[in-house]
C-alpha cells in the first residue's frame, strides 16, 4: 500500500484522460466534461505541474461550451448551459489567468436570471433548486469580480436562503428541511464565506455544533463519510475538511489517520485516486483527495483555498486581494 503521494503517476493519469476518445465511457461522460477538466487542472496545479495541460486547447474547449445567447456554459459543445458548468468554466479560466477570453458581463447576466424570489438559485432554466447552486452563483460572480453590484442579484436573499437550509443538528441540507450532508455543508458555508457574512450569521455555539457534526464524520479507519451511518469516501476528505478549515476547526480531525486513508486509495499502477481502497480511480476523487491532502499540509502540494477549491495563489490574486474581508 502506497505510503507516499505518487505525484508523477497522478500527472500522467490526468494527462491521459483526454486521449481516451476512442472509448465509449469517454463519451458517456460528456455531460460533465467541463467539470472534469476543472478537476484535472486543479489537481495538476496542486501537484505543482500547472502547465501539464495545453493552455490554448483548454481555453478553446471552454469557449466551445459557451452559449453566447444566454451567457451560460454547458458541460460540452452541444450540451445546455447549467450553473454547475458555468462555474467550472470560470474556475478553469481563472486558474490559467484567461478570464478575458469570455464576456464576463454576459455570464453575470446568465447567473442573475437564475435567482428565484426566495433568494435561491435554479441550476438552469428548468428550475431545479439546490443550495449547491447558490454556491455556484456566488462563486462565479466573485471570481468575475462582480459579486457586489451584479444587476438583478440579491446577495442578501441568497444568504437568507442558505440560512434556511441550516438544520438542528448543526449541518446544512440541499433545501430547507433536507438532511444535513457534507457536500451541501461545503457549499452553504462556502456561500456564506464568499458573501462575507459567515461570522455574523452563525453564533459560536452554532459553529461548534457544526464542527462537532463534521468531525463526527471520521470513521475508525481514518476516512470520512458524508452523513451518519454511511461509508467513508475520499471525496468527503474535501467536503468535510474544507468546511472544517473554513470554520477554523480543522484540528479536530485525526490528520495522520486521514492522510493514511487517502494515500491508501491511490492507484499505484496507473495513478489517480479512487473513492475507496481497491476501487477504480477517477478524476473527481483524485482532485478531492489531493485537495484534502493539501489542506492537511501534505508536503510538496500547493496550498488550496478551502472556499473555492482552487489554488490559493489564484484566489488571492483575483479575489481576496481585492476584498476588505479577511482571507479565511
Amino acid at each position: 500500500m502506497a505510503s507516499t503521494l505518487l505525484t508523477s503517476k497522478h500527472v500522467v493519469y490526468i494527462q491521459s484522460l483526454d486521449t481516451k476518445r476512442d472509448r465509449l465511457d469517454y463519451h458517456l461522460t460528456s455531460h460533465l466534461r467541463l467539470s472534469g477538466i476543472y478537476w484535472g487542472l486543479t489537481s495538476l496545479h496542486l501537484l505543482n505541474h500547472p502547465t501539464a495541460l495545453p493552455r490554448s486547447e483548454t481555453i478553446a474547449f471552454v469557449k466551445s461550451c459557451y452559449h453566447p445567447s444566454s451567457g451560460g456554459l454547458g458541460a460540452s459543445p452541444g450540451h445546455d448551459p447549467h450553473l454547475l458548468y458555468t462555474l467550472s468554466g470560470i474556475q478553469i479560466l481563472a486558474t490559467i489567468d484567461a478570464l478575458d477570453e469570455i464576456d464576463g458581463g454576459k455570464v453575470v447576466e446568465y447567473v442573475s436570471k437564475l435567482q428565484n424570489p426566495d433568494g435561491s438559485f435554479s441550476g438552469d432554466e428548468w428550475g431545479e433548486v439546490d443550495s449547491r447552486f447558490v454556491y455556484c452563483a456566488l462563486s462565479t460572480l466573485s471570481l468575475l469580480g462582480r459579486l457586489g453590484g451584479a444587476p438583478g442579484v440579491s446577495v442578501e436573499g441568497a444568504v437568507e436562503f442558505v440560512l434556511r437550509c441550516l438544520n438542528a443538528d448543526g449541518g446544512f441540507g440541499m433545501a430547507p428541511g433536507a438532511e444535513s450532508h457534507a457536500g451541501q455543508i461545503f457549499t452553504c458555508v462556502g456561500a456564506l464565506k464568499i458573501a462575507g457574512v459567515f461570522e455574523k450569521s452563525l453564533s459560536e455555539d452554532q459553529v461548534n455544533l457544526l464542527g462537532d457534526w463534521l468531525c463526527e464524520r471520521q470513521l475508525p479507519n481514518g476516512g470520512l463519510n458524508g452523513r451518519p451511518e454511511k461509508l467513508e469516501d475520499v471525496c468527503y476528505s474535501w467536503w468535510v475538511l474544507s468546511s472544517m478549515a473554513m470554520i477554523g476547526r480543522l484540528h479536530w480531525i485525526d490528520k495522520e489517520k486521514l492522510v493514511e486513508f487517502i494515500l491508501s486509495c491511490q492507484d499505484e499502477e496507473n495513478g489517480g485516486i479512487a473513492d475507496r481502497k481497491g476501487d477504480v480511480a477517477d478524476v473527481f476523487h483524485t482532485v478531492f483527495g489531493l485537495a484534502g491532502l493539501s489542506l492537511l499540509g501534505y508536503e510538496g502540494l500547493r496550498e488550496v483555498d478551502p472556499v473555492y477549491c482552487m489554488p490559493k495563489e489564484v484566489t488571492d490574486r483575483i479575489v481576496w486581494n481585492h476584498r476588505k474581508i479577511p482571507t479565511p
Binding site: 465509449l24 463519451h27 458541460a75 452541444g78 441540507g173 463526527e216 451518519p228 485525526d254
Partner: protein, 323 residues
C-alpha cells in the same frame, strides 16, 4: 409511448427524412472517435431532430433510447421534457405513462438525480391539469413508488428531497409520521428518516406542527425507545438535541436518561459515547459540576471516541477557561 428503438435509424423509414448530425468536437478530428455504433447513431439523429426544434412522438423514442444508455445526459432530459409538455398540451400524450417509464428507470439507476428532476417537472404538469381528487391519487401513487425506492435504499438523498418537495407542494402531511416510524423500525440508524421525522413534526403545517407539550413528550418517548435498542446511534441523540431545542427545554431535563447509558462513576458500564457527550454539555452549564463534565470529556478522549480526542480536549479547554 416509447416504442422500441429501430435496429438502425438509417434504415428505418420513420427517420428517413433526417440527415444525422455527427458530434462536432471542435478542433479534434472525427476519426479519433469510435463510439459504439448504437450510441453514435442515436445521438446523431437526436442532434438532427434538435436542430429542427422538432417536438414529435419520435423524440420520445430516440431520447428514451439514449437515456437507456446514458441516463445522466441532462440535455437529453430537458429536450424530452420540452417535447412531452408540448405533446401533452396538444393532447397527443398522456403524461401518466411517463411516470411509469421513470419508475422503471429509477429502480435501475438508483443514484441518478436527473430522473427525479424530470419527475418533478412531469408531476407539476400532471397536477396542473388534474381535479383535486385526481391530485390526491397522484400523490398517493408517488408515495407508493417512493416506498419501493426506499426498500432498496432508505437513505437515497434524491428520493428524500423529492418526497419533501411533494409533501410541501401538495400539503400531503397525512401519514408521513407513521411512514417514518415504519422506516425507523426497519433501521433505527437511518439518519434520513430521523431528519424527515423532524421535518414532519416541526416543519409541517398539519395538526402536529408547533410541537405542543404532548407532541414533545411523545417524541421523547419515541427517542427513549430508539436509544434503548441502539444506544450508540448518533441520529437518535442528535434528534433528541433538536427536539429539546425546539421545545426550549434544558438539556438537563434528560440527565437521568443519559446516566442510564453513561454512568460516570462506573465507566465500565458506559454504552454510549453520545450520552457521555450530552452529559458533558449538561454539566458544563453549572460551575459546581464542571468536574463531572471534564471527566466525561476525558473518558471520550481516552476511551470511547479517541479519534476525536482533539475535539474533546478542546471542550475541556473551554470549561477550564471558564473556571
Amino acid at each position: 409511448m416509447n416504442p422500441t428503438p429501430p435496429d438502425s435509424y438509417t434504415s428505418d423509414p420513420a427517420w428517413a427524412d433526417l440527415l444525422p448530425l455527427p458530434q462536432d468536437d471542435g478542433q479534434h478530428p472525427l476519426a479519433q472517435i469510435a463510439y459504439t455504433e448504437e450510441y453514435t447513431e442515436a445521438m446523431s439523429y437526436l442532434r438532427a431532430i434538435m436542430a429542427k426544434n422538432e417536438h414529435s412522438p419520435r423524440v420520445l423514442q430516440v431520447t428514451a433510447h439514449i437515456i437507456e444508455m446514458n441516463p445522466a445526459h441532462y440535455t437529453i432530459w430537458l429536450y424530452r421534457a420540452k417535447t412531452l409538455l408540448a405533446l401533452s398540451a396538444a393532447g397527443e400524450v398522456w403524461l401518466g405513462r411517463e411516470l411509469e417509464f421513470l419508475n422503471d428507470l429509477a429502480l435501475r439507476h438508483q443514484k441518478n438525480y436527473q430522473i427525479w428532476n424530470h419527475r418533478q417537472t412531469i408531476v407539476e404538469a400532471v397536477a396542473a391539469a388534474a381535479a383535486p381528487a385526481e391530485q390526491g391519487r397522484l400523490v398517493r401513487e408517488e408515495k407508493e413508488f417512493m416506498n419501493i425506492m426506499f426498500e432498496h435504499d432508505g437513505k437515497n438523498y434524491h428520493v428524500w428531497s423529492y418526497r419533501q418537495w411533494l409533501v410541501r407542494r401538495f400539503g400531503a402531511w397525512d401519514g408521513e409520521l407513521s411512514f417514518v416510524a415504519a422506516l425507523l423500525e426497519r433501521d433505527v440508524r437511518n439518519n434520513s428518516a430521523w431528519n424527515h421525522r423532524f421535518f414532519v413534526v416541526f416543519g409541517g403545517t398539519d395538526a402536529q406542527q408547533g410541537g405542543g407539550e404532548e407532541v414533545i413528550e411523545g417524541e421523547i418517548r419515541f427517542i427513549e425507545d430508539a436509544v434503548f435498542i441502539a444506544p450508540q446511534n448518533a441520529s437518535a441523540w442528535n434528534y433528541l438535541r433538536g427536539v429539546l431545542k425546539k421545545a426550549q427545554r434544558p438539556l438537563s431535563s434528560v440527565e437521568s436518561m443519559c446516566l442510564g447509558y453513561a454512568p460516570l462513576d462506573d465507566p465500565d458500564k458506559i454504552t454510549s459515547s453520545h450520552a457521555l457527550d450530552l452529559l458533558a454539555d449538561i454539566y458544563a452549564e453549572k460551575r459546581e459540576e464542571h468536574g463531572k463534565a471534564v471527566k466525561a470529556l476525558e473518558l471520550l478522549a481516552a476511551k470511547f471516541d479517541p479519534i476525536r480526542a482533539n475535539y474533546w480536549n478542546y471542550r475541556v479547554g473551554l470549561i477550564k477557561a471558564a473556571a
